[in-house]
């Protein structure tokens, strides 16, 4: 239940503008990989190519190869909707569906796709997902309350429960804690470490301490100047990136000299 992701010569475009240039990297299953870098370097753009969300923006597209367990998800025969069922995403601001209860939110991946499920199966799945997101104990008595009645940190864990309920292979997190307080942030970080037992996790963060705390591998991106494409500067084990970086730009960034 976890995939190996390989990017080969991946270039990401918004219309005719090249946003991210020539990415080559391999992400191992059951690991946490962090994308770090200054604002505007393309890390959010890049993570959205992993579940084909990038092309939802009109005119946006990708060139190159992106394989998961060997299969190129951008080949013409591939249905992007199916890709997104295998690759889950958690966003920067928690976005539970306001018209649904907590339980309905967790199961929305199925409900919205008109997949029928018996009540007992649905209950079991909701419980499993909520436990997996470390939210079960807090909400088990109020599953019928609206999704928006929870606190910020709880809402984000609800979104994680929603993402893992469809049993994806990969979970993408785009700055999942930047809108949360420190206690909730810590809770989500602990959760991420648990999740890597089952899934491949890729996390974008502008918080270097977070990257160093939880990730196994770290990729550092930057842009040379505004208007130029973002590039991958260095990709290595997290300890190396932070204590012994090979590139000077990486060292400047992690030691706080810029960005």
């Amino acid at each position: 239940m976890s995939m190996r992701i390989e990017l080969s010569s991946l270039n990401v475009y918004y219309g005719s503008f090249l946003a991210v240039e020539d990415i080559n990297m391999v992400i191992e299953p059951n690991s946490i990989t962090a994308f770090i870098g200054p604002s505007g370097c393309g890390k959010s753009t890049l993570i959205r190519t992993l579940n084909r969300m990038h092309e939802v923006i009109p005119g946006a597209y990708v060139k190159g190869k992106l394989t998961m367990n060997g299969e190129d998800i951008y080949s013409p025969s591939v249905d992007p909707v199916k890709v997104r069922r295998q690759v889950g995403m958690v966003f920067q601001r928690p976005n539970p569906f306001p018209t649904m209860t907590i339980k309905e939110n967790v199961l929305s991946g199925y409900r919205l796709n008109n997949n029928k499920m018996s009540k007992s199966d649905a209950d079991a799945l909701a419980e499993k997902a909520l436990k997996g997101a470390n939210l079960w104990n807090e909400v088990k008595d109020r599953l019928d309350r609206p999704g928006s009645s929870l606190s910020g940190g709880q809402q984000q864990r609800l979104c994680i429960a929603r993402a893992i309920a469809v049993e994806p292979e990969v979970i993408l997190m785009d700055e999942p804690t930047s809108a949360l307080d420190p206690i909730s942030t810590a809770a989500i970080e602990d959760l991420a470490i648990e999740l890597k037992e089952k899934f491949t996790v890729v996390i974008v963060t502008h918080n270097m301490q977070q990257a160093s705390r939880i990730s196994d591998m770290t990729a550092f991106f930057t842009i040379a100047d505004t208007g130029l494409p973002g590039k991958l500067i260095e990709y290595d084990r997290t300890d190396n990136i932070f204590s012994n970086p090979k590139e000077k730009q990486t060292e400047d960034y992690v030691s706080g000299r810029f960005g």
Partner: protein, 356 residues
């Protein structure tokens, strides 16, 4: 600079004393009364005091007096501000007066026939007293209902097209022409419905469904604009969350975006209904006038409440006052329906909008 002159820099100009405004008002009203009474008694033609003139003179006298006092005491800039305050407050008050007058008139004159008979009898075989607007109310319900049935699906789907799908020249053309549609005069919509039906049914055609089509032409752009607003308010993050779960676009729109916007759309639809339910001109043209109840929108003339009000007044019979009474009661019922629709719309918006 000594401290005395520094504090003097911040001192405001002298201000108008508090007793000035009410005193001035009283003086103005008294003066207006006296002047108008003097003019009235010296003019043999005038029989009673024109209240409108009294009020007008009083207000003008007060305003001028107040402005002058302010100009002298407070200075030029502050007095300009005061004058503008008087003017805009006056403008607002002026606008409220017809509202109150209208409400009062309709209630007062409409009460006469606000009885059970009015709601249960049509005008069939009625000449003079008695009778009611039953046929008109039934007709309005049918025609408005049909118009809603036609307008809401087209309106919502077009709004979905404009917000969720439309790009490029076609979308720009559609949004431009929706704007054009909002400006169609209601009588032109009625003429269009007539012209279209004449082609199929020949001259002199009158049909309930024609009225529904004319009203749809007026209602569709309102529904489109309201729905567009509501769809645009749905945060894009919800759409993204749905796509990220592997939900295709059409299911995202129908099962996430629309339900989130539903309360607002319902409100918009109700306000659109309230708007067209009082339209008279198109129904006069294509739905026609009859004294009997008609339950078939595809067969012959159908009476509607606004047309009932108009014709009751315009085509009075022998006992004129009974016709006038019925007209006013019809007007009262019409206004009550519009008010109720507006209130329900606001309640729906308040209680059914998704929180958070």
């Amino acid at each position: 600079m000594t401290t005395a002159s520094v504090t003097q820099d911040f001192q405001g100009t002298r201000s108008l004393p508090k007793w000035l405004a009410p005193t001035l008002l009283a003086v103005a009203i008294l003066a207006s009364f006296s002047i108008n009474s003097a003019l009235a008694s010296s003019n043999p033609e005038v029989t009673q005091l024109n209240l409108f003139a009294v009020a007008l003179v009083a207000v003008v006298t007060y305003s001028v007096g107040f402005y002058l006092a302010s100009r002298i005491i407070e200075g030029k800039r502050k007095s300009a501000d005061r004058l503008v305050t008087i003017l805009v407050t006056g403008a607002f008050s002026l606008a409220v007066v017809p509202l109150i007058s209208l409400a009062w008139t309709v209630v007062e004159r409409g009460a006469a026939r606000f009885d059970m008979e009015f709601f249960t009898f049509s005008m069939r075989n009625v000449v003079g007293a008695g009778g009611g607007a039953y046929h008109a109310i039934i007709g309005t319900l049918q025609i408005t209902g049909l118009a809603t049935l036609i307008s809401v699906p087209i309106g919502i789907m077009t709004a979905i097209y404009l917000v969720e799908y439309g790009r490029g020249a076609l979308a720009r053309a559609v949004t431009f022409f929706v704007d054009v549609m909002t400006g169609i005069p209601s009588i032109v919509a009625g003429l269009f419905a007539y012209a279209a039906f004449v082609v199929v049914f020949g001259p002199g055609v009158r049909m309930g469904i024609g009225g529904a089509i004319a009203l749809s032409v007026l209602m569709i752009p309102v529904v489109i604009r309201a729905t567009e607003e509501m769809l645009k308010i749905v945060p894009n993050e919800l759409r993204e969350a749905s796509y990220a779960l592997g939900v295709p676009k059409w299911l995202t729109v129908t099962k996430v975006v629309l339900p989130t916007a539903l309360a607002g759309i319902a409100t918009g639809v109700m306000i659109a209904i309230a708007r067209i339910i009082g339209e008279t001109a198109p129904l006069l043209i294509i739905a026609g006038f009859t004294a009997s109840t008609n339950f078939n929108p595809f067969d012959e003339r159908m009476m509607t409440l606004p047309v009932f009000v108009y014709t009751s007044y315009a085509n009075q019979g022998a006992d004129a006052q009974t016709y006038i009474d019925r007209a006013w009661t019809g007007a009262l019922v019409l206004m009550l329906i519009v008010m109720i629709l507006n209130i329900i719309a606001r309640l729906v918006s308040k209680y059914f909008s998704p929180k958070g």
